[in-house]
């Protein structure tokens, strides 16, 4: 460990988005305590802040590529991921307003926790050092635990929180073990340092393998990859629906990036030999398992949870052969997933009046006509999830499969499409329930507000527009990341 760089202003400046968001969260919290009557403002305001930060970080040159002595970095990849995280946070915040109002829940803490969680995610995405990674992970996890159980009056919500918490704590112990082993074997916790040390031949390869494996499993858990997925349906089902729009997207996205980093380190350090097979195995398990399990769900949220598991499987496909060109598919897929999943959960949040009960798909029967706008947006989300053009979901699938094919993993692509076929069944089920079944029951007392609609519209429009014109996005990624 070198004796370290002094704390520089430039380094602090590179924490701009985190500082802004975190600070804003504190302001919200204070405001909530001081002026409770303004509680309807917090969520839209926070969303606006998120959007503002999202716009702000697009400005060039405010952050150095690497700061705090190589603890965090700021690259186009991180930027893109940060945008995804901020986007899903904004959508979640917007969609939550109606839910929280309907359920009589406080908004200040909610907004603050969500913003802090976003901060944690940004750190997670940026961290290139294992301890920072671990703390960021814990930071965001704490927020997630609290938010999952935010609806304290609901048995389901608290149960979801406890389950998520126990799983998370258990897994974080393993992650920490992994960190410890890597630290012990290489003497450093910086990823680059680890790679260099390993390339230099230090450390026991088996122990290092175990260390990396534990980390990968840990972040696989966060991504809800089979076989580390079991928590996600339970948690999604119990947690507040609009929050799941965030929970199901942002942590997965950041963890995926961490996974990319870890795999990149592993690859450059040349430790262990069958990481590719490992990822391929996880991908296949997730695609097949997720889709099979989603197929038999009657609860919309659980179905979406399993679908999310399956999507993480698709996402892993490019990581089988991790390299520069694996990033665009992953990032685009994440963006697509963020938009369509957030859209879907936002609609769920708006359409299901009884938060403490199951969200049966059958309840939506015929509501496509009662709620033409929401129905249409949900349909768009479903089609995008199913990978039907011209949606961003399709573009994502296309890139993922294309990557697989370019690297000779045709079998993986074929498994992927077979799983997609199963996937189409349950996504379509939502569509047909919406439009093809006669209405069986009138909705309960719903609250469909402007912000919710805005979130849904943004998600659906984004899915479609980027699906039709993905060119700019892909060009940008290619230029920024320098994929071949």
């Amino acid at each position: 460990m070198s004796h370290a760089d002094p704390l520089l202003r430039a380094d602090l400046a590179s924490l701009l988005p985190e500082l802004l968001l975190g600070g804003f969260a504190i302001l919200v919290l204070l405001g909530d305590a001081l002026a409770p009557s303004l509680r309807r403002l917090w969520l839209p305001l926070s969303a606006a802040a998120t959007v503002a930060v999202a716009l702000l970080i697009a400005a060039p040159g405010w952050a150095s590529p690497s700061s705090f002595g190589g603890f965090i970095e700021w690259t186009p990849v991180t930027f893109f991921l940060a945008e995804i995280v901020l986007l899903s946070a904004a959508l979640c915040l917007l969609a939550s307003q109606a839910y929280l109002r309907r359920e009589g829940l406080g908004t200040g803490e909610y907004a603050a926790l969500l913003l802090w969680c976003t901060v944690g995610l940004l750190f997670l995405a940026r961290a290139t050092e294992l301890l920072t990674l671990f703390i960021a992970l814990e930071l965001l996890s704490f927020c997630l635990y609290a938010l999952a159980a935010y609806h304290r009056r609901l048995a389901m919500a608290t149960e979801a929180g406890v389950k998520y918490f126990l799983m998370g704590a258990f897994v974080s112990a393993f992650v920490l073990l992994g960190v410890a082993l890597l630290y012990g074997e290489t003497g450093t916790t910086r990823l680059r340092g680890i790679a260099e040390a390993l390339a230099g031949g230090s450390g026991s390869s088996v122990v290092v393998t175990l260390g990396f494996l534990l980390l990968i499993c840990g972040f696989g858990f966060k991504m809800a990859v089979v076989p580390f997925h079991a928590w996600s349906p339970d948690t999604y089902q119990g947690a507040p629906s609009p929050f799941v729009a965030f929970l199901s997207v942002a942590p997965k996205a950041a963890s995926a990036l961490v996974l990319v980093r870890l795999l990149g380190t592993v690859a450059s350090a040349q430790v262990g030999h069958n990481w590719s097979q490992l990822i391929a195995l996880l991908a296949v398990l997730s695609m097949v398992g997720g889709n099979l399990l989603a197929l038999v769900q009657k609860d919309l949220k659980r179905m979406l949870a399993y679908s999310g598991i399956a999507h993480m499987g698709y996402l892993l496909i490019p990581l089988v052969s991790v390299g520069h060109d694996a990033l665009p598919p992953v990032l685009v897929y994440l963006l697509a997933y963020a938009l369509m999943n957030a859209g879907a959960f936002a609609v769920v949040a708006l359409l299901f009046a009884r938060a403490g009960e199951q969200h049966l798909i059958a309840e939506l029967s015929g509501w496509g006509y009662r709620f033409p706008f929401l129905g249409l947006c949900l349909t768009v989300s479903m089609l995008s999830l199913a990978g039907i053009p011209p949606t961003l979901g399709f573009v994502g699938k296309y890139l993922v499969f294309f990557h697989a094919i370019q690297h000779g993993h045709v079998t993986l692509a074929l498994v992927g499409i077979a799983a997609s076929l199963v996937g189409a069944v349950y996504y379509l089920r939502v569509v047909y329930v919406l439009y093809m079944k006669p209405e069986v029951q009138a909705p309960g007392p719903l609250l469909i507000d402007f912000w919710g609609r805005l979130a849904v519209l943004a998600a659906a429009a984004g899915t479609l527009v980027l699906g039709v014109w993905p060119g700019g996005l892909l060009d940008w990624l290619a230029r920024a990341i320098g994929a071949p």
Binding site: A4, Y150, R152, V206, V296, K298, E357, Q358, L360
Partner: protein, 194 residues
């Protein structure tokens, strides 16, 4: 001498660790945990980390475990009524897996670091001054993060455990919600597949 101390505290730690996980009464578990942590603190000292040892005793034993005790008492958690586990498979698989894991990891570490010899402890290594220098320069970012983390923890704990505010809908009456009485598995629920 050192070996004797190590063996004593190690055995103690293991023994009480077993008590922690095996004792049916949470209070006893927690108290055993105190012993374990104390033993570990001793070992930390032996490893040249007196600062950590002190923190261990202060933070862990002094704060965290007391918190545990408070909560246990608050919730009035008694002995586990049923046998420790109700599904033998879970227990046996867990035991075998853990044993395997311990054996494997232990063997691995033993094999890897068995021959390693330790440098004698240097003052530098023991220096708390240097440690804090490290903490506030190299590790400043995690340090800041941990600050936020603690804030989050406070808020989160408050959000979760606070009493309902005036005007807020109170929690549902505490009812013994049994899993069996919960929502039926969706398979059995109404709705049809094509």
């Amino acid at each position: 001498m050192e070996v004797a101390v190590f063996v004593t505290f190690a055995l103690l730690a293991v023994a009480f660790a077993i008590v922690v996980v095996a004792h049916p009464h949470p209070v006893k578990s927690t108290m055993s945990m105190v012993v374990v942590l104390f033993c570990l603190a001793v070992l930390f000292t032996m490893l040249g980390a007196p600062m950590i040892a002190a923190l261990q005793v202060l933070v862990y034993t002094g704060a965290i475990l007391v918190l545990f005790l408070f909560v246990i008492m608050l919730l009035n958690v008694g002995r586990e009524r049923a046998p420790v586990v109700d599904r033998p498979a879970q227990r046996w698989v867990a035991l075998v897996a853990a044993a395997f894991f311990a054996g494997f990891l232990g063997m691995l570490l033993w094999r890897t670091h068995g021959p390693d010899t330790l440098e004698p402890l240097t003052p530098d290594y023991l220096s708390i001054h240097r440690l804090s220098w490290e903490l506030f320069t190299t590790w400043i970012l995690p340090f800041e993060l941990v600050g936020l983390l603690l804030l989050v923890a406070v808020v989160a704990a408050y959000v979760l455990a606070r009493a309902p505010r005036p005007g807020e809908v109170p929690p549902a009456p505490p009812a013994e919600v049994d899993a069996a009485a919960g929502p039926k598995p969706a398979r059995a629920a109404a709705g049809s597949h094509p």
